[in-house]
């Protein structure tokens, strides 16, 4: 497993990650291509992770777009091996902001018929809407069902456990990079991850046997 360079303490606070103390940069063509390759490689995974957390396609796109722009504007000049944990840290900061807004929307407008809150609940889940591209139909159905089951189980996890599981297992960050992305200690990552696995085993024991 690739080891990621831990973020230095100067970028561990949210303010630093959100660019308050960093300056915008200009890249040469080669560096810009490297950034483009990195973003192209991570964008779809980031979208799915954001969808798992937000359960809304448009909000997920907003979070990913925000993370891309923030990373490019404030951290593109940093070593490329730091980009992945930085990107996911920015992504999860954006996800939390959107979740707060979703909570406010539900609190103040949730009683109205046809509001966003209702629409989100009524809308078909994008992760269950697997399109017709890709492998053969039987295989597709199998993986589709597996993802639907996994998603149902993931929805039972607390936010921090979901973050730890998404970054550590689904995205494949090591413990140090996951800790950097979550803005917590490695011990906390291990604790969140362990508890997430326990919950998922209990939830998926019957359907994934």
């Amino acid at each position: 497993m690739t080891r990621f360079v831990s973020l230095d303490p100067a970028v561990r606070s949210r303010d630093d990650v959100e660019g308050a103390t960093t300056k915008e940069t200009r890249l040469d063509a080669a560096h810009a291509r490297e950034l483009d390759r990195f973003l192209a490689g991570v964008e779809r995974r980031a979208l799915r992770i954001a969808q798992l957390a937000l359960r809304n396609v448009d909000d997920a796109h907003d979070a990913v777009q925000h993370a891309m722009l923030r990373l490019a504007e404030h951290y593109a000049a940093r070593p490329s091996e730091e980009w992945r944990p930085l990107f996911f840290r920015i992504l999860y900061n954006g996800i939390r902001d959107i979740q707060r807004r979703q909570g406010v929307r539900r609190r103040f407008f949730g009683w109205l018929p046809g509001t966003t809150a209702h629409a989100e609940e009524d809308a078909p889940d994008p992760l269950e809407q697997v399109p017709d591209a890709g492998p053969e139909p039987s295989r597709l159905l199998e993986t589709d069902e597996a993802m639907a089951e996994l998603q149902r189980a993931l929805q039972r996890l607390p936010a921090r456990q979901l973050e730890a599981f998404s970054l550590r297992c689904l995205e494949g960050l090591d413990v140090a990079a996951t800790a950097a992305a979550m803005g917590c200690s490695e011990g906390s990552v291990k604790t969140h991850y362990f508890r997430a696995l326990q919950t998922l085993r209990a939830e998926l024991a019957e359907v994934w046997t």
Partner: protein, 141 residues
């Protein structure tokens, strides 16, 4: 782009979860890919000064200034309104329409003389006679 990931030590549940997630990533539809591609291009353009960012910011940068200029122009036109210098159709009851501007003359402090002397009366009589003569001459011609 899964090459950075290692499943060493993973349990069966973790492997299956990752496989299901990878399948869902591979099945991202074309519309979502297009949106992601556009977002990525904007992000990269933001640090290279490429046209994507300039185009995005071009009209939005100047739009507020243009709106401000337009509103100032409209306000100036409205304030100028009826006291402007544009020509207006003469109104018979208005003194200016008759060529008299007594208030302006008084306000300007100009001195104007009232015809009182005999010489001036004679002059006005001559003007009247000359005008009548001129009219009769034209009528005969």
């Amino acid at each position: 782009m899964n090459d950075h990931r290692d499943e060493t030590g993973f349990s069966e549940l973790e492997r299956r979860a990752r496989a299901a997630f990878d399948a869902s990533v591979d099945s991202v539809d074309a519309q979502a890919r297009s949106r992601l591609n556009q977002a990525r291009q904007r992000a990269v353009a933001a640090v290279t000064g490429a046209p994507a960012r300039q185009a995005r910011r071009g009209w939005t940068t100047w739009a507020p200034a243009g709106a401000l200029a337009a509103s100032v122009l409209v306000a100036a036109l409205l304030m100028r309104g009826p006291t402007g210098d544009e020509p207006r159709a003469p109104v018979a009851s208005h003194p200016a329409a008759l060529g008299h501007e007594p208030l302006e003359m008084l306000a300007a402090g100009e001195e104007f003389e009232i015809a009182t002397s005999d010489e001036e009366l004679e002059f006005y009589e001559w003007v009247e006679v000359a005008a009548v003569a001129d009219t009769s001459t034209n009528g005969q011609g």
